[in-house]
């Protein structure tokens, strides 16, 4: 069952606010859907953040600490011959650490042991900005002076920058269902398309930061900005050869992560720890913005090719998809990113015949890694844009083609997963269309486009900008996002979350899940308090310190509310039962006295597989995710036809998150994720030359400001996941998947041109406006007329049987005319390569 939550009143910025009393501290109880926590607490750590008292890593003071720096490669691929030191400098005043000083393994690894902590002398430099050596000094001036006087000597090697031709494959997957080739032959229309997306920088506003403190017993404690304390812990143990207790990781307040602080903090923590060990004093490793952009991970660039066969009524009959991701120089998390990309590549649509081939390869560019969405935004941009282009060929509304194909309960995904419950694709789609008045606006924008085209048909005439240089457009997209870790990931993680009732009678949550703005520290006490029947303020949460809390798995994959939140509810239930059984009274009334007399209780709750959810990692079949979240986005844009600038004006974002635990925090996730997606679609572009990021500063890598940001209306939908005790499916990544294709669809609605490479910069848009309009794919095949190979294109089935599936004529004469026109225009095609 799908329940629509009531969107809060007036979320869209009334021009003159009439509220003259502050909202109450807690929202009114009693208006919530079943299963929802009974009240919404204010952000737990909010007051500290609002008064400047919250301590981020760079705010922590360690007397006597030195400053650390990293010596990095300035070439993309080379043999590292060693470090030249200027003989005129007094090197005794600084500490230099090289690969030879690493006590443990010279490796930082999550999947494959291919990435060194520091490139050893004689080793291979694999990318620009790769760490070669470390330096520490007692003040910044000495540090900067010494850094200038260290010169790496290298011998150039031939770099590889093209992921398509790279022969080093990090991972590849093939997902296959049905008979794709056979179904293409029978399709009424086959459309090819190629889509490209580039790097995207997470651009948390707090740069990476780590402070390592040597302990008297030989151990090392690291305080830092990070998402995953136990990833850092594991990395430290290995590189520094420390045992479990000697390595300690403490999360400082963290100023945003978005995936960007999932992996690379391990590298920085090891660096800081190596220097601290060598200096025998605390060392501060604070990246500035330039270093943070130049050296740390980005969203994977990708090339995605679609060949899709549809019936005349728009029903998908076959999808043949190729995904190529650029992993950068080292493996990092690439296989998992690619896996999610492959699993989401078809989009949220029923299709009986699907083939998805995905591979990620190595190039001599800085390694790519986790970023909100984790492989899905790339492929869903391609899938959605492709579907919109198919709709256009069929003269079908983008809304109708989705109504026809979007998953419903009981449908089967490409991995053979039966979507048994919690399928809200249609719900989010209809809500988005309704709230944005999609069809009405689209009628108006279509008329505007026709008027501008002079002749009345945009597809045959170039645009006339005339006096109305601003073109208005509306675009729609739909997405799905697998909840939690892919496949058997959660089973392998076997996360633990704990609750303790201390002897003093305090209830305390112990988890390794981190707060980085998304609200972990607020919703966890809320969930536990609800389960225990005590006030939220009476539930404490322990700091994210590996000496105190268990490994609850990484804070990634939108899994915190769903998986770790679920563990805490179960733990709280067990605690309540134990106390109530012992005392015979309610938990609320008896727990303090019980703790005083019976002593402390600690409940450790370990993840147990969701019953009936099974995935085969070797064949890529089965339940890829225990459930999916669903999102739809409608964007309205203004395109300046003379300058190519795109202004995104209004966005409606509808997200099904299973259960809304805290509406304000959940909306905050949707709004923030949506804007990141809009940045991805319009202005965020990493430019590279010789494997180096050219715009590695905030002055040159742009993210949306308040003036660039549209009005965003967030609507939350609840289709609960019944195997989680609270029904939650996660919210963080969903909005990131769906914003970019909605913007690109709106641009197409305004201009009649499809931007197939993100971001849709003015340059790309002007180029598109200057070129012939659609259709420009390498092949459009309409029924029998395609028996003859298409000039300049590829026939999808040259060896088709002599007696193909009978031609199904379009039922609507207009469809037939448009289809014929599409075919007739084929010789004008250009700009897109055939696969």
């Amino acid at each position: 069952m799908t329940i629509r939550t009531e969107p809060r009143r007036a979320p869209t910025l009334p021009s003159s606010p009439v509220r003259d009393v502050p909202e109450p501290l807690l929202a009114t109880p009693g208006i919530l859907a079943p299963g929802r926590a009974r009240a919404f607490p204010l952000r737990r750590e909010g007051p500290e953040k609002l008064t400047g008292e919250a301590k981020y890593a760079d705010d922590l003071v360690f007397p006597g600490a030195w400053f650390g720096a990293t010596i990095r490669s300035t070439v993309a691929h080379a043999r590292y011959l060693g470090l030249e030191r200027d003989p005129d400098f007094d090197w005794t005043q600084v500490v230099v650490v090289t690969a030879a000083d690493i006590p443990g393994d010279n490796v930082v690894s999550l999947i494959t042991d291919d990435q060194p902590v520091l490139v050893p002398e004689g080793g291979e430099i694999m990318h620009h900005a790769e760490p070669l050596a470390l330096l520490a000094a007692q003040d910044r001036a000495t540090l900067a002076a010494a850094k200038r006087l260290l010169t790496p000597r290298t011998e150039a090697l031939q770099p590889v920058f093209d992921p398509e031709t790279s022969e080093h494959v990090f991972a590849h997957y093939e997902i296959s269902r049905g008979d794709v080739d056979g179904a293409m032959i029978g399709a009424w229309l086959v459309l090819d398309g190629e889509y490209r997306v580039g790097h995207q920088e997470q651009l948390y506003i707090e740069n990476n930061a780590m402070i390592a403190v040597p302990e008297p017993d030989g151990g090392i404690t690291v305080h830092g900005s990070l998402q995953c304390p136990y990833y850092v812990h594991k990395a430290l143990k290995r590189a520094l050869a420390l045992d479990v207790r000697a390595a300690r990781v403490v999360q400082a307040e963290t100023g945003g992560g978005f995936g960007g602080k999932e992996e690379y903090p391990s590298m920085i923590a090891i660096h800081a720890a190596l220097l601290a060990r060598a200096c025998r004093r605390p060392v501060r490793m604070m990246y500035d913005r330039h270093e943070d952009i130049a050296a740390t991970t980005k969203r994977h660039p990708a090339i995605v090719r679609h060949r899709t066969g549809v019936a005349a009524d728009g029903t998908l009959v076959a999808q043949d998809i190729e995904v190529i991701m650029d992993g950068g120089a080292y493996c990092t998390l690439t296989p998992v990113v690619l896996s999610r990309g492959a699993l989401h590549a078809g989009g949220p649509y029923r299709c009986p015949n699907v083939r998805i081939r995905a591979r990620a390869t190595r190039t001599n560019t800085p390694p790519n890694g986790a970023f909100r969405g984790f492989g899905a935004p790339q492929v869903e941009f391609a899938a959605e844009t492709h579907l919109n282009r198919i709709a256009e060929r069929l003269s079908m509304s983008p809304l109708d083609i989705r109504r026809r194909n979007a998953y419903r309960e009981g449908d089967i995904t490409p991995t053979g997963q039966v979507l048994r419950e919690s399928v809200a694709a249609h719900e989010v789609l209809e809500r988005a269309a309704e709230a944005s008045e999609y069809e009405g606006v689209r009628d108006r924008t279509s008329r505007g486009r026709a008027e501008r085209a002079g002749s009345g048909t945009i597809t045959t005439e170039p645009l006339h900008t005339g006096p109305t240089r601003t073109a208005h457009g509306i675009g729609l997209a739909l997405a799905w996002h697998g909840a939690g870790f892919t496949g058997s990931g959660e089973v392998r993680l076997a996360s633990v979350a704990s609750i303790e009732l201390t002897a003093e009678g305090d209830v305390r949550i112990l988890t390794g899940s981190t707060e980085m703005g998304q609200g972990t520290k607020t919703i966890f006490p809320q969930l536990v308090a609800t389960e225990l029947g005590i006030p939220i303020a009476d539930v404490q949460i322990a700091p994210q310190d590996t000496a105190l809390v268990p490994d609850s798995g990484p804070t990634v994959a939108s899994r915190t509310a769903m998986v770790v939140g679920g563990l805490l509810i179960k733990a709280a239930g067990r605690l309540r039962e134990q106390v109530e059984q012992a005392t015979g009274g309610s938990f609320e009334d008896t727990y303090r006295t019980h703790a005083a007399s019976a002593g402390p209780i600690r409940i450790d709750q370990q993840f147990e597989p969701y019953p009936g959810i099974e995935f085969d990692d070797t064949t890529y079949t089965g339940d890829a995710y225990p459930a999916f979240g669903w999102a739809s986005c409608v964007a309205e844009v203004d395109v300046d036809l003379d300058t190519g600038e795109v202004a995104v004006r209004d966005v409606v974002a509808v997200d099904d998150v299973g259960r809304v635990i805290h509406p304000i925090l959940a909306e905050g996730q949707v709004e923030g994720g949506t804007l990141q997606a809009i940045g991805y679609a319009t202005i965020e572009e990493m430019k590279l030359a010789d494997g180096r990021y050219l715009n590695d500063r905030l002055a040159t890598y742009l993210i949306p400001t308040a003036l660039d940001a549209p009005r965003i209306t967030a609507i939350l939908v609840e289709a609960p996941f019944t195997l989680a005790p609270h029904g939650a499916k996660g919210v963080g990544e969903l909005p990131m998947d769906v914003g970019a294709p909605a913007v690109v669809a709106a641009i197409a609605d305004a201009t009649g041109r499809w931007i197939t490479e993100l971001p849709a910069t003015p340059e790309r848009l002007l180029a598109a406006l200057g070129s012939p309009p659609e259709p420009t794919p390498s092949s459009v095949r309409i029924g029998r007329s395609a028996d003859q190979p298409i000039e300049g294109g590829t026939d999808p089935a040259p060896d088709r049987p002599t007696d193909p599936v009978p031609f199904r004529a379009p039922t609507d004469p207009e469809d037939r005319a448009d289809a014929a026109e599409a075919f007739d225009n084929e010789p004008r095609s250009n700009g897109e390569k055939a696969p």
């Binding site: 606010p17 909202e23 204010l42 506003i205 913005r289 940001a709």
Partner: protein, 158 residues
């Protein structure tokens, strides 16, 4: 080195530092006011915004010599103090807390400063004017929606 005198959050201070030392470093390191954050060091992100003689400036771009004789207000100077010295959120901070205007919190001090200056200058709840007022302050978490709501709430109700 020479001594520079100015007022920070109603307290007169004197620092004996090089004149080109950034006001940001003087605040954070010499005066231990770490509420003001550094996000880019080149005046793009606004995390280091402070109010200097009534105007919002990026403290990373102001050498301390230019702050000599001025009145500076940082995020630490927004809250009022209870009798026991604990901070009591002002109307703007309360609005941010209630509307969800702070997520990771790293842009929040600068955002509050920009909003405070806007409200102090007579700014109203107009969405366009608020967007303009905080255009120099980047936020990567919120999409700005709830920040704007918070400022509107403060403008109307505080």
């Amino acid at each position: 080195m020479s001594a520079y005198r100015f007022t920070v959050n109603d307290t007169p201070v004197e620092v004996d530092v090089p004149g080109m030392r950034r006001l940001l470093d003087v605040l954070r390191e010499d005066l231990a006011l770490t509420g003001t954050k550094e996000g880019c060091g080149e005046g793009e992100c606004g995390a280091c915004s402070v109010i200097l003689d009534g105007a919002v400036v990026d403290a990373c771009l102001v050498p301390v010599c230019q702050a000599d004789g001025t009145v500076v207000r940082t995020v630490e100077g927004l809250a009022e103090r209870a009798e026991d010295g604990s901070p009591v959120l002002d109307g703007l901070q309360r609005a941010f807390l209630e509307a969800g205007g702070a997520q990771c919190g790293i842009c929040t001090p600068g955002m509050l400063i920009a909003a405070r200056a806007f409200l102090d200058a007579g700014g109203t709840g107009s969405e366009g004017a608020i967007r303009e007022a905080i255009a120099g302050n980047l936020c990567r978490c919120t999409g700005y929606t709830k920040i704007i709501e918070a400022i509107q709430l403060a403008a109307g109700g505080a």
